[in-house]
């Protein structure tokens, strides 16, 4: 249902008046248009950086290396000047574009230097140097969510590239385990939110995403029979040893929120790190055979929990998403477990019944929530 139809329905039900309908429509049209413009600007800036990278990759021979280097450095200086001018004159969109391009063009300049001087440095070293030089100006000046998200992706790529290429499995384990909690901490510190706009919010979102992703992928480890604890050494992300430290870290997050060092959030969102940590480590805590069904069951239980978190914390779309994910997983579980047509058929019928039940239950829950909200208002 479109927004206008929905608003008209609410107006007919006497929930809002005609003036409110108009105000909401004007607001939504304005912000929607702005969002579209920002998205287009971000895509345009990204296209320019990718274009520059492609041009440098061609490694044109007919332009002398010195000319290429000087031209690129001048271009970067021009962008730095542009960002400075836009910042001083309050031109936010221009500033954000210049900053994004400057960050991207520093990476392409680094690639050009590597190409001209035939440097043999590994990728992670180049990425680390790049992050070190661009982060200060981005931290201080950049406010566009797109830029912040790109920085987070670059940061994680650098960390994972460095740790995995170096075969530093223990370091990789530390990074993959504690990174989500570190992002959550940085993103929810009250004092940091006060002095630093935009960035902490994105950090918190990235922290939650990483936690959910890790917990979702943990189901795969139920497929590995853990017959002997020495097998842990064979897996790079031998997670068992990190269980208690991570659980303590998740508990400390709750404690810090209790002490009002972190921003106030519904308790359900506070439980999310704790539940995720348990789910991530569970396959590594005791010896077990190959248990894909348990993995699937825990996966679905986790998504049911996420749906509950969504309802409790006001993100109802999370409940809808949980229903979809659980439904798909239900179908997949029968395909992956049962072999014969009879068993698959029975399995699919059972999953279909479960699916219908799940959707009906979710609808009932949502209806109840809407009624409750209506009564409260």
């Amino acid at each position: 249902m479109s927004l206008r139809n929905k608003l008209q329905k609410w107006q007919a039900a006497g929930v809002i008046d005609a003036a409110a309908v108009e105000r909401i429509m004007q607001h939504e049209q304005g912000s929607g248009g702005l969002r579209f413009v920002h998205a287009m600007l971000a895509i345009g800036a990204l296209a320019i950086v990718l274009g520059m990278a492609a041009i440098i990759s061609t490694n044109w021979d007919f332009i002398p290396p010195a000319v290429k280097l000087v031209a690129h450095i001048l271009l970067n200086l021009l962008l730095a000047g542009g960002a400075f001018y836009a910042h001083q004159h309050g031109r936010n969109a221009a500033r954000e574009i210049c900053l994004f391009l400057l960050a991207g063009f520093n990476l392409t300049l680094l690639a050009l230097i590597g190409q001209i001087y035939q440097t043999q440095s590994p990728t992670w070293q180049a990425l680390t140097l790049w992050l070190m030089v661009i982060s200060p100006f981005l931290f201080v000046l950049a406010r566009a969510r797109f830029t912040v998200v790109c920085w987070c992706v670059a940061f994680m790529t650098t960390l994972l590239t460095a740790t995995s290429i170096l075969y530093q499995f223990h370091l990789l384990s530390v990074v993959t385990n504690f990174l989500p909690l570190a992002f959550l901490l940085a993103g929810q510190l009250v004092w940091l939110r006060k002095i630093w706009p935009v960035w902490p919010r994105i950090f918190a979102a990235v922290g939650y995403l990483l936690l959910v992703f890790s917990a979702m992928t943990a189901q795969m480890f139920w497929r590995i029979p853990l017959a002997d604890m020495t097998m842990l050494a064979e897996f790079p992300i031998g997670l068992g040893i990190f269980f208690w430290p991570m659980l303590v870290a998740a508990g400390l997050l709750m404690f810090a929120r209790h002490k009002q060092k972190l921003i106030a959030l519904p308790t359900s969102l506070d439980l999310l790190p704790v539940v995720s940590v348990v789910l991530i480590h569970l396959p590594w805590l005791f010896l077990h055979p190959e248990w894909p069904v348990l993995g699937a069951a825990l996966f679905m239980a986790y998504w049911a929990f996420l749906g509950w978190v969504g309802v409790q914390s006001g993100y109802r779309w999370l409940l809808s998403l949980a229903v979809v994910v659980i439904s798909i997983r239900l179908v997949v579980v029968y395909v992956e477990i049962f072999g014969s047509l009879l068993q698959t058929g029975v399995g699919l019928i059972v999953s279909g019944v479960l699916l219908i039940g799940l959707v009906l239950a979710a609808r009932k829950l949502l209806r109840r929530l809407v009624e409750k909200a209506g009564q409260a208002s």
Binding site: S57, T58, N59, W60, D61, L69, I73, N76, L77, A80, G81, A83, F84, H87, Q88, L102, N106, L109, L110, I113, G114, Q115, Y117, Q118, T119, Q120, P122, L129, V133, I134, P136, F137, V140, L141, I165, L166, Y167, Q168, L171
Partner: protein, 195 residues
């Protein structure tokens, strides 16, 4: 200009200053480096050319008394280069850096990427370390297919100028095919018939 503006200007210029310094450092290193010509071979003969760069190994000319058991010492490994004269590639000796460095006027020192933090190379044979290392050489996109043909056919000798800096870093310079710079070599080839 007040302090805040100076701070912002510094932040925005920092990347260019750092990368510009990197360029100057590389120029200085190259200008003071000694040039050696070494023979090279494909890392994987079936696929020597990966897009825009060659993936190759250096065919070192080993000294006759090169130990087959001498090990690297820790994460770093060293290679001593000695001139042979008559345009011949240098003879080399590999070993632990604490042995090679004090006794050798021209040495190359490299660290295994995998050992950056704590991996111990004490068990790695120095000769194997240098023989197994692969490198990349960037080439222009428009020359890649033609160059690829000459690198694959095994009829030509490939060599490379390497510049060894005083601190023992190795930088790559001109690539040669049959003793000629690769651009000159390609220009001298008869045009291929159109398909």
């Amino acid at each position: 200009m007040n302090q805040r503006l100076l701070f912002l200007t510094g932040l925005l210029l920092l990347p260019t200053l750092v990368l510009g310094s990197l360029v100057l450092k590389k120029e200085y290193d190259l200008s003071t480096a000694k040039i050696w010509r070494v023979d090279i071979g494909g890392y994987d003969p079936r696929d020597l050319l990966y897009g825009h760069y060659l993936d190759f190994r250096i065919n070192w000319s080993w000294r006759k008394d090169q130990s087959k058991t001498a090990a690297c010492n820790g994460a770093e490994c060293c290679l001593c280069l000695e001139e042979q004269g008559n345009n011949l590639p240098p003879v080399v000796q590999a070993g632990a850096c604490d042995v090679i460095k004090p006794a050798c006027p021209h040495f190359v020192i490299e660290r295994d990427d995998q050992s950056f933090f704590d991996y111990d190379h004490s068990a790695v044979v120095a000769r194997d370390f240098w023989q197994n290392r692969s490198y990349q050489y960037f080439i222009p996109e428009d020359s890649a297919p033609e160059l690829d043909d000459y690198l694959r056919d095994n009829k030509h000798k490939h060599s490379l100028d390497i510049r060894v800096t005083r601190s023992g870093k190795m930088k790559f310079d001109e690539l040669y095919i049959d003793g000629k710079p690769w651009r000159e070599f390609l220009r001298a080839q008869p045009p291929k018939p159109a398909n």
